[in-house]
Subunit: 500 residues, 2 copies
């Protein structure tokens, strides 16, 4: 392998990561501390930087170097980590180079403004205010999808591919249908049980924000999130972002009347953060130092949020501490809390949904996105379609667009094709937990003793440190010894919700 050429390519990719980390800071700040009136200039900054990043991504010399390195790979070197980096960078290059800079900058501008308008429109329940922004974003993403479309695949597939490399909508549809078939009876039966014996706790505005902050920070640290390499802040819609090899930031929001909403935002985002912190820092900016896909990312967040965080063992460990931070939890038993946290119900808000109905929320978005990109669905028809699909899939419909089509930040940020990765993540998470249990023994007993290290180390070894050296489905196949499958997730739900 031509070492000089390899080094120049690596240097170029790392330089891009310096810029991407700067972009991530501009966005993180926009969502946390930026003053109200600074948004317009911030959008200019983001637009400008996105153009610069795109220029670097599509530098012809860089592209030609990658192609030459790829050509030089022989049988011996094809399996090396360097080869995986070259292949990953070249795939990215081949996609990026198709996109005109004007489109990339227009999308950055539209989504930066879009997110700011979304926050205000959501607060005011004013879809008409958000509509022109969303129309522009959909128009730009359709254009991008047309450009990236490959033979035999749909436009929407090309957007999905940006988040879950190698996946397509038909394959996802098949898995989702299989899942839905067995999920619906589980949901129906769980809701019937909940009606017969309600488990919902009603505790009022009993949870001071400051106490929740401290408890959440404590929990994140205990499950292994490294605060020397990260932080926890607050924002409208929880997320996790990477600003550098040692800079991973998680964000949540707290409500005085909920002990769980903020905390589970943290557990979810810390799951993402643990993954990012587990990728090889010295490979930051290269495929070997990146996450495999958003589906794999979601497997980590959903695993920590739900499979760890809503388990009996976890609450056996946490309850005494939680009661010292939040005295309103005094007198409650582990069983009461765990039942409250796992009750299945028809609900409107995805990120507050239980693990079973959660996927129904995803199905709604997946179908709408497909119609929006591959069909001719209009943005103006979204609120109504949203209501009717919720009625059909979840048996309820929102009275407001704030609780409906405007609940999620994603579309305002241009993230179309992203939602299906949430359900993929649920399925991968269940498969990973099955494999981990097989190899490590009973995890719930460990959680009850506050021992999260064995699970985290296992995930580090088998998932995090692998980076993006393989396609996501290849990585999951390697760890689990089986392809993507809804069954482990369904049996997990069956066991958790209907075994008692």
């Amino acid at each position: 392998m031509n070492t000089d050429l390899l080094n120049s390519v690596i240097e170029h990719a790392k330089e891009i990561s310096v810029l991407s980390g700067t972009m991530a800071l501009l966005e993180w700040d926009q969502h946390t501390y930026m003053p109200e009136r600074a948004g317009e200039f911030r959008s200019q900054q983001i637009t400008w930087l996105s153009g610069l990043i795109h220029q670097r991504h599509t530098n012809p010399v860089y592209g030609e170097s990658l192609r030459e390195l790829q050509r030089g790979l022989d049988e011996q070197s094809a399996c090396s980590p360097e080869a995986a980096n070259i292949r990953g960078l070249l795939r990215d290059y081949e996609k990026n180079v198709q996109l005109p800079e004007s489109l990339v900058k227009a999308t950055a501008l539209a989504t930066s403004i879009g997110q700011q308008v979304w926050v205000e429109a959501k607060a005011k329940d004013d879809f008409a205010m958000f509509k022109p922004c969303l129309e522009e974003i959909v128009r730009l993403r359709r254009e991008e999808a047309s450009i990236l479309q490959t033979p035999g695949r749909t436009k929407y597939d090309s957007l999905i591919d940006q988040y879950e490399e190698g996946a397509d909508s038909e394959q996802i549809r098949v898995v989702f249908e299989a899942l839905r078939r067995d999920l619906v009876p589980i949901v129906r039966e769980s809701i019937a049980r909940e009606k017969a014996r309600p488990t919902k706790l009603s505790l009022g505005k009993a949870f001071p924000i400051e106490s929740q902050r401290r408890l959440s920070q404590w929990v994140a640290q205990k499950i292994g999130f490294d605060f020397e390499r990260g932080r926890l802040d607050e924002t409208e819609h929880p997320f996790c972002t990477t600003l550098g090899p040692h800079d991973h930031r998680i964000l949540t929001r707290y409500f005085e009347d909920s002990y769980s909403s903020g905390l589970y935002g943290v557990l979810h985002e810390a799951g993402h953060g643990l993954y990012e912190q587990g990728t090889p820092a010295d490979m930051h900016g290269l495929p070997a130092g990146s996450a495999a896909s958003l589906g794999v990312h979601e497997s980590q967040s959903r695993l920590w949020e739900n499979m760890v965080g809503r388990s009996v063992g976890f609450w056996k460990w946490l309850l005494p501490t939680a009661q010292t931070y939040l005295p309103a939890l005094a007198g409650l038993s582990v069983e009461q809390i765990v039942s409250d946290l796992n009750r299945v119900e028809q609900s409107l808000i995805r990120i507050e949904a239980d693990e079973a109905t959660y996927n129904l929320h995803i199905f709604v978005r997946f179908e709408i996105e497909k119609e929006l990109i591959d069909g001719d669905l209009k943005v103006s028809d979204l609120p109504e379609l949203w209501r009717s699909r919720y009625q059909e899939y979840l048996g309820i419909a929102p009275d407001t667009d704030t609780m409906g089509v405007m609940q999620d930040v994603h579309w305002s940020a241009g993230l179309i094709g992203y939602f299906p990765t949430y359900t993929l993540g649920n399925l991968y998470a269940a498969q990973l937990m099955e494999t981990a249990t097989r190899q490590l023994g009973d995890l719930d007993t460990m959680f009850a003793q506050g021992e999260f290290g064995p699970l985290l180390d296992w995930l580090k070894t088998n998932v995090h440190t692998k980076g993006r050296s393989m396609l996501p489905h290849e990585l999951m196949l390697q760890v689990n010894g089986a392809p993507l499958d809804a069954k482990p997730f369904l049996s997990y739900l069956q066991r958790k919700l209907l075994s008692k």
Copy 2:
């Protein structure tokens, strides 16, 4: 005037401001929220961006356009706002273009690392740890000074010129000597009075940080700082930074045992912030939308901190509110507080010093800097020289370097030539207050009623909105009708400290 050429130049300059605002965010975050281990990557980002900004600053096409526009200025257009922009941008260009990018990037890297090491070395009182960083910074700044040096002026002059355009060290030395001659007796007499009748309050750790935060925020808002266009955060060493036309951030730090330290940090930095918020936002990134100089900047911060903030009127207004936020102030009179806040004493820490001795702290730094850049003073000799000069000028010397040569962030950030602007600011502030009082009437009576609007409006009209359309001494001459003069400051001190 060639409008197309003018527009292209303005667009280029505004593009630079988009990048400078990004740089300011990287630095603000480094000083506030950045995780501990993220510093190394952050330094890379700052270095890289500084190179990019320098490239734009020195773009030959941009430079040639500026020269052509300058040549095209006739008598009629020479006084227009556009002409002021062209002249200012061209002056910047002519200076920037002399500096090699390698030097600019090396300085950015050295100062980004320098600030991080300084924080740690200061905390540990370990000058040896900081020394290599400071040596590198001094070496780079000496090199820069040599490059920028012009005939008849010293190397140090060329650094001062970066902060106070048109000023030089000899002119400053003369003013400082005149000031010192009359200041020393005032200090001596004030200290004698303080010894005869001590006014220092000893209140213990009675001031909860959270209450101080809320009080400071309230005060900053009342004097006119616009929180829709800015914020207040905390850091090791207070500062104010501009991230965009509507994004001005002030930073302070609080101590539980002081009701005033955090608050006066805020008043000082809010003074800077008010100036920045008062410059024309639509001219952001151009001379017409920039501050005139650091001396003028300091005139605003010192004016709000001292001439407003330590006045009797201000405390007549503030005390009742301050007592509700900080109950430990209950029972104290306005006179007690004002005496406490204006007592003159020999002290070690510049930013905590009273208004009279403050300038002695500046004289020490000014002389040391001159020897460091124009002479052959070694960094390793700094701690000892610091102690001996403090002994000479202030009659006391620090036991530690934390309280001595490492107390200020400036040198770690490469800011050499900056300190003299603090005393220039004091002198300008007194001249401005004399002029404002002549034109507006008795300000103290207004302050006592919480009326800060008239003074702020006057400053906006006469200083803030003028931007950098003139050289700083020209602007001050225009407002005050008199050149830089130490007398108004000396009579102000005389009146305040020795009239009773």
